[in-house]
Amino acid sequence: MFIINCPYCGKRDQVEFSCGGEAHIERPKQPTELSDDQWAEYLFMRKNIKGVQFERWNHTHGCRKWFNMVRDTSNDKIHATYKMGEKPPIK
C-alpha cells in the first residue's frame, strides 16, 4: 500500500487513488489524418515496463485531480509525482 504524494493534497494512502495507465500518451490532435495503424498505436499499444514507468493517477477519493507519477514497478518506489502538463522531473 503506497503512500502517494498528491501534488494538490499531499501524502495520502493508496486507497484514495486509482491508476489510469501509462502517462504522456497525447490524444492525436487530428485523428482523421491518421492511418489505421497510427490510430491503433495510440489506441491500443502500451508499454509494460519492469522498472521506471510514467503513470497517470487520479485522486479519486480526494481532490479528484489527475496527475502523473514516476514509479519503479520492480519495487514500487515512487520517485516523483507532478501535475498534468508539467514536464517529468526525472528522465
Binding site: E26, P28, T32, N58, W66
Partner: protein, 1003 residues
Amino acid sequence: MSNELRINKNNFIDQTVRISFKFNGKKLFGFKGDTLASALLANDIHLVGRSFKYHRPRGIMTCGSEEPNAIVQIGSDPASTEPNVRATEIELYEGLEAFSQNCWPSVNFDVGGINNLLSPILPAGFYYKTFMWPASFWEKYEFFIRYSAGLGKSPTKADDDLYDHQYAHCDALVIGGGISGVISAKLAAEKGLDTILIDDKNFLGGSTIYQDEESFKINNANSNQWLAREIESLKSYKNLVIKSRTSLAAFHGYNYLLAREALTDHLSVHERKNKIRQRLWKIRAQKVIIASGSIERPLIFNNNDRPGIILSSSIKKYIDYFGVKTGNNISLFTNNDSAYETAISLSKSGVNVNVIIDIRENSDSNIVKEAQKLGIKILWGHTIVETNGYKRIKSFEAMKLSSDGGNIVGNKIKFNSDCIGISGGWTPMVHLYTQSGGKLQFKSNDNIFIPDETKTPSEQISVGSCNGDFELDDVVNNTIYNVKKFISLDKSSYDKINVNCSKESSKKNIWLLPSDKPLHKTKPFLDFQNDSTAKDVKLALREGFKSIEHVKRYTTTGMGTDQGKLSNMHALGIIADTTGTNMGELGTTTFRPPYTPLTFGTIVGRNVGKFFDHTRKTAIHNWHVDNKAEFENVGQWKRPWYFPKNGETMHEAVQRESKAARESAGILDASTLGKIDIQGSDASEFLNRVYTNAWSKLAIGKCRYGLMLNEDGMVYDDGVTTRLAENHYIMTTTTGGAANVLSKLEDYLQTEWPELDVYLTTVTDQYSTISICGPNSKNIIKKIIPDLNLSDENFPHMSFKDSKIDGVDCRIMRISFTGEHSYEINIQSNYANDVWKACMDAGKEFNITPYGTETMHLLRAEKGFIITGQDTDGTLTPSDLQMDWIISKKKYDFIGKRSLYRSDTIREDRKQLVGLLTDDPKEVLEEGAQLVEDINKEPVEMLGHVTSSYYSPNLNKSIALAIVKSGKKMKGKKLIVPMEEKNINVTITDTVFYDKENKRLNA
C-alpha cells in the same frame, strides 16, 4: 485420564485452575495457561491426526505456528466450527471441543492408512499423473479423495461472531516479543518514539523467558530472570503499547502491515458473548523492527514422522514452560548445541535422557560439558537410521556416520525411547522481511538465508535470530547496537550490559541423513503436512524439474497450511546437494502473506450484511415501500422493479402497468439516472467533443439525445442533455454509468483539453426525477402546474420549462423513453416525495399507474430503444445499433470518431442490432439465448444472441431485440433459437415494434 506427565512447576501454568475440554469426544482436563497441545501431551496423547496422502499416524511436533501435524477442527456448532487450527497455538478454555482432521472413521483406525501400504505407487506428482486422465474417471476418484483426504470441515452456517478493523499509526513497530523484541521496544520507547510491540503469544519473552541455566547470564543474572525484569520495566513507558495475542499477517510496501489480534479466542464460550472476536490492525509505521525469531529445523532421516518425534526446543518448552513431560524416556538427535539445553532441562526435571545422538564428531562448548556433567550419554558422529512404533515411537536404531557423512558404517545400536527430540539447527523467520520486498543473502556457515541489509526496501531492520544471530551475546549486543543506530539513539540504559553464554564450537549439517537401506525403501519426510519425502524431491529433479518453485508445486512440498515453515530449507538443501548447486544461487520460494492463516471474518471485519456495500435509495423510496414495490438492485441503487397488486405475479403486474402507461398514464421514479451539471463558456464545444452528434446549434430550452463512445468507437453511454442557458447544460446518464461517465469526462477535461472552460458537477442526488407518460400525462401536469402553457407550440417534445410546483422551483422536460407523450419533473430531492404524492393525487381520476424498471424496459423495447449495458456490451458501434443517424458527418472530431472507420469497424458482417418476432406470438424468448440458421450443419454456427425479450401487452405478441451477424441485411430472414426442449422459429424484423411513425409523442 489424568495429568500424570505434569511436573510441579508453576511459573507459567496456574495448576490451581483446572480447565476441562474434549478431544475426539473424550473428556480431559488441563490447566490455565495450557495450549491444547500441552494439555494433550500432559494427558499422554501424542497421536492427533493422520497425514494428508499416506494417512500415517502423526503426533504433535512443535509448540508454535510452524506445527504441521496437530491441525484440529474446533467445535461442532455449524456456525462457529473452525477447521485447520493449530493445537499448539490455541489456548485452552473451559468447554473447548477439538477433533482430529484428515482421518476417517477415527484417528486410531483410519481407512486411508491403506495409502501408506500403497505408497510405492504414490510418488510425487501422483495426483497430477493419475487423475489427469481419463477425465471421466475423475468423478470416481473425486469421491474417494474428498472423503478421505479433506482438511477439515467448513462451517455450514453464517459466522455470527463479531470482527473489527482498526487503523494504527506509530513511529516504531516492533514485531515479536522475544528478548530482541523486548530490547528493541525499550530502546524505541527510551528514544521517545510512539511504539507498538506486538507478539502472538499471551506472554512476552519468547524462549529466553524460560532459559534458566547457569550457562546463560545477563548482568550476572540468569537470562530468564533478567528478561522478566526488563519486560516489567516496559510497563512504565506511556509511549509504548504492547499488543499480545496479536500475530503479524502481512508486511506490505511503504511499511503498511496487517496484524490479527485475537480478543476472545482464549475465553470460554459464555465469556465471549457480545465481544469482538478478532481485530485486524492496519498499521502504518514510520519504522519497523522485525524480531520474529527463528524456528528449529527437524532432521531428515528414515521414518522421522512417528508420533513422539518432536522438535528438541519444543520438548524444552513443554517441560520448562508448561511443566509437561513429552515422554518418560527421551532421546535427542541433533547436529548442534541447542539439544543440550533440552537435555539439561529434562534431566533437571527428573526425566530420563536416554542418549543424545549427535552427528558432529565432538563439541567442547560449556553447555555440552554441563550435559556431560549430568551424566547424559552422548553418541558422537552417529545418525538414526530407523525408527519403530506405529502410533507412538517405541525404539530407534543408530549407526556411525562415515567420515564424509554420506554413508553409514559399523553396527546398528538399538535404543528404546518413547520420545525423540530432533534438532537440525535454526531457520531465521525472514517471511515478513521478504513479503515487504526485501532480498535475502545466504550465510553458508549456518546454512541460512538472512536479510541482505543493502537490499532493504523500507525503513526497517531485522534483529535477533531472524537476522541470523543465534548466540545470546550476539542477539543482545547486536540488537542494541543496530537498533540504536536505526533510531538514532546515542545513549541507552543498555550501554553497560554484560552477557556471558555458552558458545557453539562446532557445526555440521547433512540435509538428508543416510540410512542402511537404499533411499527408495526409506521414508525420510520433508513436509509432514503434505507428506512429501526427500525421495519425491529427488524424483522431481530426475524428471527434469529445476526451479525450486516448480519442484515445490510438483511435490507439494511447502504447500500445506504451514506453508513449509519446517520443510522449505531441507527441500532447498537436497536440491542443492543433488544438482551440485550453491544454495544461495538457488534462492528460496516466495513467501506470501498471510504468515499464518487468517479467518475470513477477520479479513472482512464489519463489511458484512448491509455494510457490505452502500445502499442508495431515492427520495421517494419510502412511498415505494409503502405501496408494496418489489425492488431491483441497479448498481448500489434500490429501484422499484414492479408494483404487484392483489397477489399478482411479476408477469401480471408488468402487463397491467405497461397497458396502463399507454392507455392512460404511468408514473416512474427516474431519480437514479445520473445527472451532471455542465457550465462554462466552452460547454457547447465540450459536448461536441464527447457526443457523436452536434450540439452548438441546440437552442436554449431544448433537449437532445446523445450517444457517447469510447475512443475505440464502441457505445459507452447515452442520455438526454438539456441546454438550460447559453453556457449551462444538464446531462443525464444511465443509472449504472453515472460515476464512470463523470470521471471519464473529468479525465478528458483535465488531461486532453485543459484549455476548455468547463466545470462538471454531479447533481444526481440533489435532483429527483419523476416521469409521467401516457395520453393523460398532459392532463395531470395541467392539474399540478395550472400556469404552464402545455400547448405543443409553447412546449414541444424535446424541450424544457422552468416552473414552480407549490412555490418550489422545478424543471419540466418533455422527453420520452416510452414513445408516449411524457413529462419529466426534476425537483430538489427534499420535495420529491411530496411532489410524487401530488402527482398520484392529480392522476387518480386517470388511473395513474406507478411502474418499475421492468415495465420501463418493456415499453422502450416496444419502441426499439436500446439500454446500454443490456443491448450493448462494449463491442457495438452506433452503426451496429442501426443508429447511423446520430453520427455527425460535419464534426471534425469527437471521442471515438476515428475508430468508426477502422478496417474492423466497417466490416459488414459485424454483429448488429435487429428485432425478432417469434412465429408463435405467445412464445417469449429467453434473454441470452443463441441464434442459429442451420441447426443440422455441425459445428453449428452461432450468429448472435437475444439481448431483450418481452411479451408486449400493447401488441399482444412476443417481441425481442437481438444482435446478429450481418443482421442489417437479414430483415425477413428466418432463424432458429435452439432451446433444451425445442427449437423456436423466429423472423428478423425492424427494431421498432410499436408506433413506427412516432405519432403518440404528440398525442
